[in-house]
Amino acid sequence: MPASASASHDAAGAPGSGARAAARGRGPTLFGLTMGLPALVWQLVLFATPLVFMVLMTFWLVVNFRPTPDLSLANWSKLLSAGYFRDIYLRTFLYGMLAAGIASVMAFPCAYLLAFKARPNIRWLAVFLLITPFFTSYLVRTYTWKVILTGDGMVNAALGFVGLGPFSMVNNLFGTIVGYLTLVLPLVILLQLFSLAYVDRNLIEAAHNLRCGAVRTVFQVIVPAAKIGLVLAATFAFILSFGDYVSPTLLGGSKPPTMSILIVDVVKSGANWPEASVIAVVMSLTLLAVCFAALIFAYGKTGRRT
């Protein structure tokens, strides 16, 4: 891949490296190719190609239970005109937005505290603690929430001691949102924390000196200054929740379904890969559009206050 490989060190003018750069030439070297090519080939063949292939698959037809190459728009028109598909799409979108909103609001006080009030070693401990669950079996964590929140589970038993409940906390939206938060909350706190850590302390000093109250400082100085990171965190929360299969299945009871549940159902029961591909492509396009909108919003002019 490094076709016109040129060492950036040389460009930076590392001592006496010009001669060697000339000796190495500017074409691709065996060394450069050995480093760069394997990842390129792997991701081209096994990441880009499958995605492109999936898009092509949306135009195929199922003949005798087998996906057969075609150039038909039947799958698209069938799904896009179906009322149930529109409902599921809108619901999944709202769930994702809801999860992103709740996670952002829930995470912000934590991120604020860790960024501005905590001592450095506490902050590092918190980062360490937050990274760990992000990589730790989301599947089992969600299942355990079901055990905790179920009708005669621990939370209802505890509430029963003080004479409350029982509440219905699984197989509904509440359960689904708890699952989404389990997935995204650590990541959202981390991303918010990193963006708040880069806020210029002088801005806060200045606001303080100008007798700007603490709450007003947060909303008029800190939030605008950290806007890009905050939007990025919310966007990631949306991406993860929008595509999640586990929470709406286990904690939401899979009724009503979301887009991911629909994909799994169509693949498992119907074996209709072309239709499943249409759903996946619609999801991907939605995510692209949301990312694009988030970028425009994050870098929009309201971020720079005068």
């Binding site: 891949m1 950036s8 390129l40 760990t132 299942y143 355990t144 038993a157 990631f236 890969w273």
Partner: protein
């Protein structure tokens, strides 16, 4: 000032609540796995190791675990190799289409795993690579390489660029500079990448669910157990899975923190 202190105190209480929310499922899973109630509630029942004995005797779990371990080790090795190469390429070279290269190398984790799994299923079955253990390995490497790349790239950005150039000036070939400068310096990130990629693969169920066919990995097996009845056996397996992945993630973080004095001396600017 007193009001400010009260607010800070309340914020700490709130943060404790949020951390409790994040860690509750992990802690409760361990508790439930040693609790004799089939439908656990409060107050807890007696201590038992029955669920662990149950899963010890389950004939479907051992092959699944074995597959998961094989997949995890292969994925860790391959994706760390690929990720290292990609990180070094990004660090050192400028070339036409570099943004495309970086997108390929970094984007996979941002694609929902259900979509990635479906794309893999559709593609791998078309080229006859579907439904075996290597299908899972091939797909997991796609997902894990970006993590390895990011870790190594971060470490490389901490390196003094003139170190490698100095080695070249002293007559070292690119290969030798790689072996004696870059590799020792990035070793913590390489170890960290090995652990993290193994943890990601060890936990991944959606892609594996689509492409594994009958070669079920442990998370796919757990997913299948959800369809059956509620049982603390799932928490027993879950607690083992938690222990393994948490150990891997903690090792990954420790590898980045702990510095080998010899390496620091080599790094010069770093010491």
């Amino acid at each position: 000032m007193n009001g400010g202190r009260l607010v800070t105190f309340l914020l700490w209480c709130y943060a404790a609540f949020v951390f409790a929310f994040i860690f509750a499922p992990i802690v409760v899973s361990f508790i439930v796995s040693f609790n004799s109630d089939r439908f656990p509630t409060l107050p807890l029942a007696e201590f038992t190791t029955r669920w662990y004995e149950d899963i010890w005797g389950d004939p479907t779990l051992w092959p699944a675990l074995q597959r998961t371990v094989i997949v995890g080790m292969c994925v860790a090795l391959i994706s760390t190799l690929l990720g290292f190469g990609a990180a070094y390429t990004d660090y050192r070279y400028r070339f036409f289409g570099k943004n495309f290269y970086l997108a390929l190398a970094l984007l996979p984790p941002t694609i929902p795993v259900v979509i990635l799994g479906l794309a893999m299923l559709v593609f791998l079955s078309q080229v006859g690579l579907f439904g075996q253990l290597h299908s899972v390995i091939l797909s997991h490497v796609v997902l894990c390489t970006p993590f390895a790349m990011a870790l190594v790239r971060l470490r490389l950005s901490q390196m003094d660029e003139s170190l490698e150039a100095a080695a070249w000036n002293l007559g070292a070939s690119e290969w030798r500079a790689m072996r004696e400068i870059i590799l020792p310096f990035t070793l913590p990130a390489i170890l960290s990448a090995l652990f993290i990629t193994m943890a990601v693969s060890f936990d991944e169920f959606a892609i594996a669910f689509f492409v594994s066919g009958f070669a079920e990995t442990l998370p796919v097996r757990i997913l299948a157990m959800f369809q059956g009845q509620v049982s603390p056996r799932i928490n027993a397996i879950g607690s083992i899975v938690f222990s393994v992945t948490m150990a891997l993630v903690i090792l990954a973080q420790v590898a980045l923190i702990v510095r080998n004095p010899a390496r620091a001396r080599l790094a010069g600017a770093d010491a």
